[in-house]
Symmetry: D2
Subunit: 386 residues, 4 copies
């Protein structure tokens, strides 16, 4: 055994993960440890009871795959250390409940999880500097900038290679099982771009397919969407009615947000409903293409909820209009070599356009409210939309 | 498809679990939903980052295996419905962080998790009565009373068949992989006792072995023991220094306990240490057999901590003497048929005695404290024990 | 435990399979036991070394899933026993090396594996009659005739639900992992047709996608195609140059065919090449759309090989022109309920047309020969095709 | 990607195995390819239908683990290449049906599978010499000689780490699931001996336990023992009654042995019985400790079978007395560091002695014969043993 500092962590997906050098020190910061208390899939555990995995284990998995990718690509030395740090840290800026709460926090702070200003100061910055790594460079890598940044955050990044497999393992849904080792072995740097090597159109298609199958089944399952919408509503109200700011919420973990929601009188009902899974139901659930033109931006959504409420005689704070747009499958612009030329998967594969179209076809918008108000809300909506 | 009310839940371990009848209504109670927020393995996720599975999914798994066992044993009708309810409810009395906090709560309330007084009133009692089930009977089954109660809680209960496999799946440690289907198919009712049928001495040994391998690797891993001891200490202090009672703690979920610990000044340091994994270290770690005679019961443990503190010049509240006894492997008294006679595994297998002895051999007691005090505490302990 | 005769078989895919009644007796016939020596995927083990699973274990798996489907569909009594028998027997007419040799045998005998004349006489017929089952009815079920026959052989049959998962397990390729339990639970009989119930367009798409991903990766991998073409060539020559008939070959198992090929002077070289994996290489490998018009039916293929041989100065018996057509994805005409109406998946899903088109796009034809003749054969082919 | 010749093989157990350098050339020899047609577990597929995995995939797995072990131990350069070659080649001397036939072949040739004289000449020797490797050195490594030879063949060799996991995967029996990566990471070279590092007594115990659980369940299952005894009997008769020598048999693969047995009149019945699984049954099945003293060595076994035959009025060629001794668990003498000292597991663990004793306790000897002769043979045996 060599004398570099190494620690082996057992992971349910990748078995033994060897953590070394800067990663070992980063792991010990409170900022990284906080990710142990943020569920990877937000409220999806209300649909898939086993989906309790966290951003922490996912971060370790991404770090593990990044090291494999670098070995395969021949990246080593300082570059490798920077990528190691960036891959481990890539989710450190996440809000509680992952993407669910992120949108709300962004409204109030203008920041998304990859704007990792937190690593430019405090414990993490200190660890990075102790290892002669420039925190600004790491932040850029996390945002996917530069040739190597694509390994961490790009169309073919190791982030999605980990989460597809991990989400499949913990939900029990088989569709996410991609061949991540093959994907990594086939990565090449070509004209400064990360691409899949020759003969991999179908490898790329398989990745796309996995993502597009996981969407309706897991990520956008209607119960996941309802609970997500409720959590957003509750978080927004928390910021509006208490002295907690968007930045305060951003730094919480799941424990803290849940307890805050339950403690504040204005959010207690929604908070309890989420943890007790007494969720709103669908009063309206219609194809997204038939979305009334009038409801498109955030402002009018709220107006429209008010209108429905007054038409239905229901408190509008208990009505949620969910017009979140269909998911983007951004792997479609990833590149693959075909007869020596770099093509986007979009160009190289017939399937891709239709996978995207199929997701849009199946996509719905909804109006949610408590069980007892469903009929009133449904007819109010109908009369307003004529 | 029949017209009974049925819901299929996807589980990472058992794939599809069909939930029916009384179980379906029980699942919707806040009491059952609370189990979604109680980690099955308490603080073991600090050693195994993927070990975030909950009492909720475990309860579903136990319910699923109980139904298989009843099918194999030919139990049906009202008995089957009672066992279904009991198996789903068996952990509803659990404290946050599972067994870790249970011991502390017991000190203050005298209740353990299988004293499920909570099901005798409120939502659960109501659901049971709606299905013509007597809550007192269900409570007795959960405590393992009677012939059928052994399915839910006995030496060969489906509880352990679920958790061994589930803990293995989520930690990534392979040792828990038992052949639960075989165990269930081989169960028989013999003279009013649940036994393994003829030719299953080795099946029983395999179960015992799985349990005794999981102990040192997972359940009693030294980091798990340290974090457990810290959590107990913090919880005890929470009850002693705030107006929260043992019963209040008993009804919390993990979120609430963690936040309470962090909010109360007397427990904030320990609370933050646990969530940030800045754990105490071992100043002393010695074979349990060499435990000084003077430290045996709870009272003298605390006195001894004080003595160490004053000898070492360290605040005794930051010193933990962990003399928790070696685990019991109670499957040893489970029965198996050998040439037509009922024997305990203990009698039927040579291995069993030594498995137990081996666990005791390897067992340690420890003194834990913050990193910076290790040397002082270690020498104080040594000087006191001479 | 009931007193029906039951045997539990441990399976790598489905864990414990309970075999009962007629199935138990059928399993003991030499005809069924022969399937232990026929590899499920023919020569694919030359690409995927772990792909040594057999028609025997697959047959057990199909029997197991058929019983689950019948439980879900409410089929029982005599019908259930007939389907049990048919599902276990469905592959009993298979040639050695599964589909590879089947085409050749069909040329000489006019029979495919589902023309199970063998079950109308001999041991199997006897077992069936002992259980009051009409062998002719079973044969019809195996050919997919009638409402219930669709369970065994139809667009949504349990055959493919077993082989996709089994082939994935044994090759290590993840793409075949479908959610077979969900598929089975969603089956309904609607107007005498087996369909997927409401809300399952995506369930059906997932099945199609699994099949279309397994094709290029496993079933039609170029090394699998080359070895298949060589085995066909060798088998054809065996029938033409020895006194073995097509029917003799049909009744062999893998052992017997391999040894026969190695023993007969005319086939010894090809036989040894296959078992030693000294395979022919691709002299030509071109998009199927560019297949010269002149080579379309079997007869002209052989003529064309002769022409290439004489142009290249190479023994034409060592040249193989492989113009096998692209795979059919026949699930596309399976039915699914959409808003109460029965639709084919083709109609209900945009994806389907493109999945099929994508397989055709990627499909190639090839000319194979020994390594040392590649250049000669390639230029001969080119000059003939101008 | 580096420019060394590399090929990736997909394996059901280890996922992607990268084969490089000398291993790549060795893989292409007919001697290695032959292992594709030798089942790893001999006739165990008659008990576990999925157990059709071969010596070929196992050899790749052992090669893969050997490389991991060398990386962990810091072995590189020429030594690493030698070990790579030895690990891949370690089973190349195997008879058909693995260990079953090996004993018979040894009687006639005096050679076991690790006496790999075959690699000293022919294709393999040529490949080794092309890579500047001395075939004699490789042969010594395969026999476990020297410090490094222990990696390939020793008490803690990678051979058993592969086969335990692989046999579990393919039989579906969970007991073999050891944590091979942990075992490998904990290997150390200490005073020229391969040992497990400090703190690994339980890691070693887990390995031992896995082996001792796999024995009664898989390797020595009574049906496996009966079919094994029948195959030995048939092979012995083949050599005695045809002009095939022990060496001829040694070089066969499974296909060839099965067909030879079925073709030769003296062995046809046994051969057919094995492939059709019409196995002999147990007329006697008694604790090994009660084995009559008179039957101990090979010669008297045959005499005793004759005596039983004449007493029972049954052709003695149809009676098999199986007195094969209990399995050795040789890991018990593997070494592990305890407080800096090298101890055998035997010394370090209480469990070990009892595991061995338990295997002996449960061990049986048996007399097998066709179903119809069971009663006659049983009473003949009884009367002879009084």
């Amino acid at each position: 055994m060599s004398d570099t500092k190494t620690k082996t962590v057992k992971d349910a997906v990748h078995d033994h993960i060897q953590v070394e050098d800067v990663a070992l020190d980063l792991l010990d910061t409170p900022e990284m440890q906080r990710l142990r208390h943020i569920r990877q899939l937000g409220t999806a555990y209300l649909v898939y009871p086993s989906a309790n995995h966290t951003r922490f284990e996912h971060s370790l998995g991404v770090y593990h795959l990044a090291k494999k990718a670098m070995k395969s690509l021949g990246v080593d030395g300082r570059d490798a250390e920077a990528i190691s740090a960036a891959s481990l840290l890539h989710d450190v800026g996440h809000t509680p409940f992952s993407h669910t709460v992120e949108d709300v926090v962004e409204e109030y702070t203008g920041k998304r999880h990859d704007e990792v200003d937190g690593i430019l100061e405090g414990n993490i910055s200190e660890v990075l500097e102790n290892h002669d790594l420039d925190p600004h460079r790491i932040a850029r890598l996390i945002r996917g900038e530069g040739r190597l940044g694509q390994i961490v955050s790009g169309k073919l990044d190791v982030d999605r290679m980990d989460y597809l497999v991990r989400d499949a393992h913990h939900t029990g849904v088989p569709y996410g099982t991609i061949d991540s080792t093959r994907l990594i072995l086939e990565l090449e740097l070509h004209d400064g771009d990360l691409v899949l090597g020759e003969g991999n159109v179908q490898t790329a298609e398989a990745l796309l397919i996995a993502r597009s199958l996981m969407h309706p089944t897991v990520y956008s399952h209607h119960v996941a969407r309802i609970s997500k919408a409720m959590l957003k509503r509750a978080t927004r109200r928390l910021v509006e009615t208490t002295d907690l700011t968007g930045d305060d919420v951003r730094r919480m973990d799941d424990h803290q947000l849940v307890v805050s929601l339950r403690q504040s009188p204005e959010t207690a009902d929604l908070g309890r409903r989420i943890v007790e899974r007494r969720l709103y139901k669908r009063a309206v659930w219609e194809p997204y293409q038939r979305l009334p033109n009038s409801v498109e931006d955030g402002a009018s959504v709220r107006d429209f909820e008010d209108e429905i409420g007054s038409e239905a005689g229901v408190d509008p704070r208990r009505i949620i209009l969910d017009v979140s747009p269909p998911p983007e499958i951004d792997e479609t612009s990833a590149s693959v070599l075909v007869d020596g030329d770099k093509k986007t998967i979009d160009e190289a594969s017939r399937l891709v356009g239709d996978l995207r179209a199929s997701l849009v076809d199946q996509w719905k918008y909804g109006v949610y409210c408590p069980q007892e108000d469903i009929e009133d809300v449904a007819s109010a909506f109908e009369s307003l939309c004529v």
